[in-house]
Each structure stands twice: as structure tokens, then as C-alpha cells.
């Protein structure tokens, strides 16, 4: 696995001090040096130096990193583990040691346009139970293009998220549209696997351009982060749902009835550490009367990954589950009624952990909470 000189220099910044180890969620789950950022950096270095041959086991070590970037928060050397893992994964993905589950994911996305390999028309199903259709029927370009994302549009248990956001935008008088069955996977799982994304990006860019919208909002932080960092600039402002909703609240376009709920907020990796959006969701929670926020021990930039990122679920379900259990345990130490997050993958992962642990502590998306507060619906 050959890196460029620049990347090799970057690895040399690693002092092997080990400060990254206490916060790495995979190390917490697996308890061994090779499952730590320090260990993985050394393995990549050894592979580059020709001392360690590429193998399925080495590939597994690299892919077990979920790219949560908690290591980058504590690293004294400022090592760009994000870039190094991306390069290492690209080097592996081009060869025979790409894990089979990721090769299959690649095929599904390119054949069907989504992560689950089902008919892309299924992306229309979440809208069926809405009171009124959400897409524009006239020729005027929408104010906002709502990029729904695979999880929200294809996993029925997540339908409440796009439904809630649609209702919020409607109530605020925003004209919005979606790409419907023409929406393709944003490309994040491919990037996380080190696989090429050009085709996927091109398709989505063409369709968003065709919509005429000047604002794109995503409720999924992975879609949001991918659009912001990897998509070309097409003159469209890219927002996460929490940023849009916080803006609507500031403008007075939404108002709330009183709720009575103690919640904690789980910062998703892709929204927090990767996109630096920590305050918009907290501003929303603050704006809802009667909602009390209690922070978990690991919050903001120190937030603990839910275990749902970086294709880990496809690759190593047990590891993913252990990390989810660890995060749920943190939330359970607080006396809260619910966990609120802003990522449908985090919500899925944490709710699955609650089911496994037979816990009543459910996770809901912040837009669901906003919608409940708007209509005065009784919190569950």
C-alpha cells in the first residue's frame, strides 16, 4: 500500500503518544492496540514502508475505523487521520482485499441508486400518509430542495423524520421539493469505503441543478457533510435541517406550545465534529418551552460515536452494536425522557441498542420533537 510522500509525512506526525486511545469507540469496544488510532496509523505506516503486506486482516483493521474523528480532537500532533484513512481505504478498495460486503454495497448503490438495493421508487413511500402533497406542482423553482437521504426515505421506522420536516417547512410557508425517485445515494458510503463517487455525484448534481432551487437541506448529517465537502459548488446553499429550523425559529416562522420533556442531545459525528454544527440543534431545544436539556458526559466535540458510521454496520455488526450499547449506557446515566439527535442513522442505531437492552429510552430526531411541539401533540 503505497502512499504519497505528503501522506507519509503526515503519518510521521504521529508521536505514538496514545492520547487518541481513551476516546476511540472501537478501542473501547475491542480493547486491543490494533483497534486504536495509534495502532492503525502504525499499520498504515508499516504497510507503506513495505514491512507489512496487505491482507484481509489488515484491510479489516483499516475498515473498522468508522471515521468518527474523535481521535482528531485529542491528538497533540494534529495528525489528519481522516485523510490518511481515506487514502488507505482508496488503496485497498482498488484491489482484491476490499471486504465483500463493501463490494456488494458498491454494486447496490450503482445499480439501484440506494444503499439497500431496492427499487428507487420506494423513495416516494414516506410521503403517502402526509395530509397534503409536499412537492410543488407549478413551474416556479422551490425555495428549498429537500435532499431526503437513503435512511429517511427507505427505512419505514425513519419516515417520521422527513414527514416531520415536510410539515415544519409547510407550516413555515416554505415551498420545497424533493428529487423523488430520481434521488440517488449521496455517495457517503462509497467515500467511507474508499470507492469512486463520480457517477453518483454527477447524477445528483444534474438533478438538483434542474430543480432550480438555491437552497438544499438535508436531515441526514452524512448527506449534509458529503454535499458540503465533496460535491462541487453549484451555487446552492447547503444546510442541515437543524440549521434551517433554527433559522425559521429566529425568523418567527414557527412557534411552540409548552412541552414537558427532559432530554439529552446526541451530537452525530457527521454534524458535530465533521461539520462543526453544535449550536443550531441546541438553540432549537432551548426555544421549545418546557424542554430541558441535560448533556451527556461526552458531548459536543467529545460526543461518542453511536456505532452507526463508516459502513461498520455492513462490515462488522457486533462491533457496531457494542459501540451503540456504550453510547446508550451513557445516556441512561441521566434521568431523561428521551435522547434527541439529528441523524437518522444515529437514531436507528441507538433505538436498536435500546431494544437489545430492553430499555425504554428511545431516540427521536429533533425535527420530530419540533413537530410535536408545534402541534402540541402529546409526547410519547
Amino acid at each position: 500500500m503505497k502512499l504519497t510522500q505528503k501522506d507519509y509525512d503526515e503519518i510521521m506526525n504521529c508521536l505514538r503518544c496514545g492520547f487518541c486511545i481513551p476516546s476511540c469507540p472501537t478501542y473501547a469496544a475491542l480493547g486491543t492496540e490494533r483497534a486504536s488510532p495509534r495502532g492503525r496509523m502504525f499499520l498504515i505506516r508499516a504497510a507503506h514502508e513495505g514491512r507489512l503486506p496487505l491482507s484481509p486482516n489488515l484491510a479489516l483493521q483499516i475498515y473498522q475505523c468508522l471515521d468518527c474523528r474523535t481521535c482528531m480532537v485529542t491528538c497533540p500532533g494534529g495528525v489528519r487521520t481522516d485523510q490518511l484513512f481515506a487514502k488507505a481505504k482508496q488503496a485497498i478498495a482498488g484491489g482484491e482485499f476490499l471486504p465483500a460486503s463493501l463490494r456488494e454495497l458498491d454494486e447496490r448503490i450503482h445499480e439501484s441508486g440506494n444503499i439497500s438495493g431496492e427499487e428507487n421508487e420506494n423513495r416516494l413511500l414516506w410521503r403517502q400518509n402526509l395530509e397534503s402533497p409536499s412537492e410543488q406542482k407549478d413551474d416556479v423553482a422551490p425555495d428549498v430542495l429537500f435532499f431526503v437521504g437513503c435512511v429517511a426515505s427507505l427505512y419505514p421506522m425513519a419516515y417520521a423524520v422527513p414527514q416531520s420536516l415536510a410539515e415544519i417547512m409547510k407550516a413555515a410557508g416554505l415551498r420545497f421539493d424533493t428529487l423523488g425517485a430520481e434521488e440517488w445515494c449521496c455517495g457517503y458510503p462509497l467515500l467511507a469505503a474508499g470507492l469512486p463517487v463520480d457517477e453518483v455525484l454527477e447524477r445528483n448534481v444534474a438533478r438538483v441543478k434542474a430543480s432550480g432551487a438555491k437552497k438544499l437541506v438535508a436531515a441526514c448529517p452524512s448527506c449534509f457533510h458529503t454535499w458540503k465537502e465533496f460535491y462541487p459548488d453549484i451555487g446552492v446553499e447547503v444546510l442541515h435541517a437543524t440549521e434551517l429550523v433554527a433559522e425559521l425559529i429566529r425568523e418567527g416562522a414557527i412557534s411552540f406550545k409548552e412541552m414537558n420533556k427532559k432530554v439529552t442531545y446526541h451530537d452525530p459525528c457527521d454534524l458535530g465534529r465533521k461539520a462543526d454544527v453544535y449550536e443550531a440543534p441546541r438553540q432549537i431545544l432551548e426555544a421549545i418551552p418546557g424542554v430541558e436539556l441535560m448533556e451527556m458526559e461526552s458531548n459536543h466535540a467529545n460526543s461518542l460515536c453511536c456505532g452507526g458510521g463508516g459502513n461498520i454496520e455492513s462490515l462488522d455488526q457486533t462491533l457496531s452494536w457494542t459501540m451503540a450499547d456504550n453510547r446508550l449506557t451513557q445516556a441512561q446515566s441521566l434521568e431523561v425522557d428521551a435522547i434527541v439527535s439529528s441523524c437518522q442513522q444515529c437514531e436507528r442505531t441507538l433505538n436498536a441498542a435500546a431494544r437489545r437492552q430492553k430499555s425504554r429510552l428511545k431516540t427521536l430526531d429533533i425535527v420530530q420533537l419540533v413537530r410535536m411541539a408545534m402541534n402540541g401533540a402529546t409526547p410519547t
Binding site: 510521521m12 505514538r16 496514545g18 492520547f19 480493547g31 492496540e33 490494533r34 486504536s36 500532533g77
Partner: protein, 465 residues
Amino acid sequence: MDDSQLSRLAHIVGEDRLLTSPEDLFCYSYDSTQMPLHDLPGAVVVPLSTEEVAATMRLANELNFAVIPRGSGTGLTGGTIPLPDAVVMDLSRMNNILEIDEENLTAAVEPGVITDKFQAEVEKKGLLYPPDPASSSISSLGGNVAENAGGLRGLKYGVTEDYVLGLEVVLPTGEVITTGGKCVKDVAGYNLTGLLVGSEGTLGVVTKIFLKLIPQPEAKKTMVAYFPEIDDAASAVSSIIAAKVIPSALEIMDQTTIRYVEKFKNLGLPTDAGAMLLIEVDGPGASIADEISQVSEICRSQGAGEVTVARSDEEAVKLREARKGALPALARVRPTIIMEEISVPRDKLATIVKEIGDIARRHDLEVAVFGHAGDGNLHPNYMVDERDEEEMKRMEASLMEIFEATLALGGSITGEHGIGIKRKHLLPRKAGEAAVATMRAIKKALDPNNVLNPGKIFLEEGVPT
């Protein structure tokens, strides 16, 4: 290692806790020491009990393989770097806090407990475990014991050995002994606890540690002072102690460090200052306000330009940022940072810092110094590129000169990082031949087959000093 040896190890720890994949072996071939790393161990075992540790040591003597005990692998002198084909014994999963005894103010822990985690637990009970090495978020208590780790609180509170009441140890030959115990005072027989603390994993594998705790001080106050010259800062350090104020932290940073921290963090630090002192006092709320005023006055009278006392916890955090930012700032200057350390009598502080500067300049190298001014323990940090052989040769040469200068001032080649591999060649120079011979005799008595962490502390026999 051959299959029959591996299967005997698997018999002790089980297949799951015997690691032999190349990926695992590579990950146990390093610690935090910056040095060329070529050798892979033969295997890694991860014991969960004293019995498994003892059985491994017995097997090591029977089959004649080396055992390298390891906590978190964050040492700075190569203490856990394996020989080829050695068995690394990873103690990080023996990580239970066995007891915190609030009546006796003691605790019992397994060696793999992380220092910070232990400190957090005792602090919940209003108690304090003072030794605070900079690596405390990741270093293990077993590692702290092996190296007799220090930290910022060393001047006022002492170091690891001052808090170890007793140990359970597996000797290199496999016997299990207990030294000391929970008593405040215990002089039954030789002080084996004292011998073992700081023995760098060469005289025994620690499997339980009995620690002393103290009540948490009521309050803490933080301040920083910037001085035009290093001499002024050093004089302030002496004057503070002469005034019988013993701060709980008394850290110094030289100008090079200040400049790089400012470049990295933009805190508005005075970059023409010769040195910075970070000073903390802790104790009863009633007295520390007076103490910190006294210290500020002393700093001003010794020529400090800028003196800031934190008025709140938030401000204290901000003041500590410069010192906390020292390592991150220096680590970004060049690909490699070599964190060295020396120890001098406190009154020689300014002299050694200036000599380090001169030596570095003569060898065309950049060195930044920060450290524990209160106890004379300093960290000269080299900013180099370990792939540049020529530069590394100059670094080694300059380091020898720094050690010679340190010894000439009555100092020591190590205050807290230990001998390990890195300072083997210097030990005879510092301790003298007779003392080293005594140490060797003890080692031979306890480890006749030289299986426990060989190649550390002592030069191989017959190698000239």
C-alpha cells in the same frame, strides 16, 4: 516462536487472548519512544489474573523466552519495546479498581487501571491520588509504578513511590509475593516495595497495587507570570520556595516554547518573554488567596512583566491553555518530536536551560524546554525528522553533551522517564560502576535466567561504557 511454544501459551490464557497475527505483533512493537523500530515480538499474551501471569513466567523460565510486561505502552525510553521473539504481556485488561477504602484512605487496583480513571473515581469521594504524569489519560497505574512516574504535582505531593503502600508481584521465576500492605507504617524486612517501584518491569510483574490516598484540597488558585529572562523566572522559583510556599504546580516554559505555542494557538502570549511560569497553589480556601498574592508579589519583584491571577475556574482553564498547548504546538513544527528529560537541583535551573540552548545551537538543532521547575525536572524537546540520519546523529551528539552538562551540575539523566533502552549507556556514568554492579547483582538474584524484560536498564555484559 514455534507452534509448541504457542500452544503452551494458549493453554494458559486461552486462544482468544494469545495474539499472533502480524497486525497485532506490529502493534506491540512500539511505545511512545521515538526510536527506530524493527523488531516484532513472537507473540502477545493478555492475562486476566495473577495465576495466568505466574504461569507465563514459569513457562518463560522453562522454555527460555523473554517476557516484556506492558501497560498502555506509553513510556518514553523504550521500556516496553520487545526483543525479537519475546512474548509481550499486555496487562491492560487487568483493569479493575478492587477497593477504595474511605476509612483507611487507601485503594487497591490492578495494574491496567488508567491513571485518570482512578483519579476520577477517588475524586468522587473527596479524595486525591496526586501523581499526575502528562500521559495520565492513557498511562496505566502499573506503568506508573514501573517507571515511578512523576507529574506536575511532584514538588508538593511527591511521586508514585510516595503513594505505594504495597504490591502483589509475580517474580521473574513465577513466585507470587506481597510486599507491604495497607498499613501506614510497616518496616517488616527489606523494603521490597521501594525496590520494585521504578524497576521498569525488570524485577517482577506487578499484579496488584495498594495505594495511599489523601483528602482533596479544598480549593485551588492558578496564575501565570512572564519574565524578560529565564534567570528571572528561575530566581522567582527559588524565592517562592524560600518563602515556604510550596505550589501544587510550578511549570516553566522557555521562549522557544512560548513562541511556538503562540504561533499555534494565538492566545496573545508575549513572545519576547524569556520564560513563563504557570503556578498553582491548593489548600484551605482561607489561606490560598494569601499564598497566591504572595507568589504574585514575588514574581513581580523578580522582574515579571505580566502577572495574571485567575479569578474563576473558567479563567484558570484559559491560563493553563498555554502550558497544555506546549506539546501540541511543538509536535507540529517538524515531523518528529523527541521528548527528552533531565533533572537538576532547583538552583541550577537557569544554568541548564541556557546550556541546553547553547548546545542545541552549536549542533544546528532546535530545542524547546518546558517542565517542572519546582522540582528541577525539565523536558528539552527536539524538533527533528527521524528519517534524516544525519540530523539524528547530531541530535544524539548534542544529547550526550546535555547529559554531561546535567551531570556536571549534580543532576540526573532521568527524573521520571526511566532508563529503558534509551539511557542504558548513561547509567554507569550517572550511578557509578559499583552501584550498577549492585543493581546487576539484584537482577541476577531475582531473575537468574534473565527472562523478564531483558535488554533494559543494563548494557549487555562486556559492552564498554
